[in-house]
Symmetry: C2
Subunit: 304 residues, 2 copies
C-alpha cells in the first residue's frame, strides 16, 4: 500500500488535498473544481479533499460541494493526496511541515499559499526524501475572510510566485505551476530571499502603512470625533489593507521581520524627503517628487 | 443695471457660473443640469455658464450641452450669475478672489470646490460688501482628470464640507447647502481651521503616504525590476492617490502646510511604534496594535 509513486506527478487525474478552508483555501477548491475538470486544463484534478480545523467548516465545505471529502483529521485528509496545498497562516504551515511529514503519501508534492517564503522553504527543505515540495505565494486576497467569502475567480489573472526548495525537481515544480495556471494565475519564479524582499515592499509595507494610518486617525478622532465624518474614498482605499486578517498578517510580519523593517526604513527616508520639501516650501522640488510618483503609479500599474 | 439683488438668493431659478471645467467643475455642471431642473430640487438652477482657460474646453463643454454658455472670459462668464462656483486649483481660486472681485454681479454668492479652506476663506473675507461667500469642500474625485472624465453622479452620497466666511449670511449659507444637496452630496459645517486639520489627516496624509510608497517602490525597482511584477491589488489601492492631479495636490499641500506636516509627524509616531513592536518581536503588542487598526477600519468606515 501507498507505494512511492513518482508517476502521480504526471498523472492526468491528481487528487488534491487543501489544508485550511479559509478564503484562500476554499477559493482554490472552487477554482480547481470549476477548471480542473476541463479537458484542456493544465492540471486534471481528481478527488478534492479539504482539511479544516473546525467541524462546522468541514460540514459547510461538504454541504456546498466544494470538496469530495472533508475532515478535521490532517493525516486522514492528506494520506491519499498526490498534491497537498497548505493554506493556513504562515507559522501554522511551518509547524505542519515540521511535525506532520509522516502523514504525507510518499511521492506527494507539497505546496503552500503563504505570503513569506524563506522560513517556509527552510521547513520544506527539511522534509524527508521521497516527498516533493515547492513554495507558492499567490498574490490575491480580500478583506473578508473565511469559507463563506470563497470565490472561484479569486486567482484569475493574479500573480502566483513559485519558489524551488531542496525538495523540488523539475516535475514537481512544473506540477505546481500547472496547479496555479489551472486556478487562472500567472506564475513567476523567484528565490525565497528575493521574493521576501520584494513582497515586503509591494505588499507588507502597504499593510504597515494602512494600519499606522488607521492608528493615526483613531488617535486624532479622540480629540475630534468629526475626523471619521470627513474620511472619504481616498482614506478608504489607502487604509483598505488595515482590515486584513490579523492572524494571517501577524505571521507574515513576524516571519519577514528584517525585510519589512528594511522596507519601512526605506519608506521613512522617502516620506522625510517629501516632508522636508513641503516644510521649506520648495515648490519646484515638491512638484518634481509628486510628478515622478504620479507618472510611476500610472505607468507601472498597467497590469493591475 | 445689475442692482444688488438679495432676492437672487431665494429665486427659484438661479443662474450658476462654474469657473474651471476640469473633473470637479464639469461633473458639477452635469449634476446641476440633471438634478437642478427637477420640480423638487433643493435648488432650481436657471442658466448654467462655464468658464474655462482653454478654447477647446469651451468648445467641448458647449458641444456636449454641459452648459448653456461657455467662455474663456472670466468677467463675461460670471457677470450675470447669482451663484459663482470657483472650481480651479486652490491657489488659482485665491488669486481669482483677490483680483476679480469687481467682475461678480452685486449680491452674487461665491463658493469654491477647494480642498483647503483657511487661505481661501481669508480671501473670501476680503471680498467687498454686497458680495456673499461660503467655502465648499466636496470630498470626491478620481485619478482621471479633465472634462472628459466628468460624471453627473460624482457628488452623490459624498461629503460636502461648508465653511462660513465674513461674507456669509444665513441665506447665502443655506443657498450653497442646497446647491450641494442638489448635486447629491451630504453637507457638514466646519470652521476653516478645523476642516484643514481634519482633512490633513483624512485626505492629504493618505496622498503623502501613497506618493512616498510609490517613490520607495521606484527606488527598490532600480535594484530589482521584478518589484513591479509582484505589486498586486494591495499596492494598487494603497498607492491609488499618488496618481492624483499634481497641480491640484501641490496647491493643497502648500496651502495646508502646517496641518499636513503635523499629520505626517503623528503618522510617523504610529509607524515607529509598529516598527518597534516588530523589531523586538513583541507578538502580543503587535497583535493588539494590528487588531485595533483592523477593528477601527471595519467599524468606522461604514459610511463609505
Amino acid at each position: 500500500v501507498n507505494q512511492p509513486s513518482q508517476s502521480e506527478i504526471e498523472n492526468p487525474n491528481v487528487d488534491v488535498a487543501i489544508v485550511g478552508l479559509g478564503l484562500m483555501g476554499a477559493s482554490l477548491a472552487l477554482a480547481l473544481r470549476e477548471h480542473g475538470s476541463r479537458p484542456g486544463a493544465p492540471l486534471r484534478v481528481g478527488r478534492l479533499i479539504g482539511v479544516a480545523r473546525r467541524e462546522d467548516t468541514v460540514r459547510e465545505a461538504m454541504q456546498r460541494g466544494m470538496v469530495d471529502f472533508a475532515t478535521t483529521d490532517f493525516a486522514a485528509g492528506v494520506v491519499q493526496a498526490g498534491v497537498v496545498v497548505l493554506a493556513a497562516p504562515v507559522r501554522t504551515i511551518i509547524t505542519q511541515l515540521r511535525t506532520q511529514a509522516g502523514a504525507f503519501k510518499p511521492g506527494a508534492v507539497i505546496t503552500d499559499l503563504g505570503s513569506t517564503k524563506t522560513e517556509i522553504v527552510r521547513a520544506m527543505d527539511g522534509l524527508p526524501d521521497g516527498l516533493h515540495a515547492v513554495g507558492s505565494h499567490p498574490m490575491c486576497g480580500k478583506e473578508v475572510t473565511g469559507l463563506q467569502a470563497a470565490d472561484a475567480d479569486l486567482y484569475v489573472g493574479k500573480r502566483w510566485i513559485l519558489t524551488r526548495t531542496a525538495r523540488s525537481d523539475d516535475a514537481s515544480f512544473d506540477l505546481i505551476g500547472r496547479l496555479a495556471q489551472t486556478a487562472g494565475a500567472n506564475t513567476l519564479e523567484l528565490d525565497p530571499a528575493r521574493q521576501d524582499r520584494l513582497v515586503a515592499v509591494a505588499s507588507h509595507l502597504p499593510y504597515a502603512l494602512a494600519s499606522s494610518l488607521v492608528a493615526t486617525a483613531e488617535q486624532v478622532s479622540l480629540d475630534d470625533p468629526a475626523l471619521w465624518q470627513v474620511t472619504a474614498s481616498g482614506f478608504r482605499d489607502t487604509s483598505r489593507l488595515a482590515a486584513s486578517d490579523v492572524t494571517m498578517m501577524l505571521d507574515i510580519l513576524l516571519t519577514n521581520r528584517e525585510a519589512v523593517s528594511g522596507a519601512i526604513r526605506d519608506f521613512q527616508f522617502h516620506l522625510d524627503q517629501l516632508t522636508a520639501l513641503l516644510e521649506r516650501q520648495d515648490e519646484a522640488g515638491l512638484r518634481t517628487y509628486l510628478y515622478a510618483a504620479a507618472q510611476a503609479r500610472k505607468e507601472k500599474g498597467s497590469h493591475w
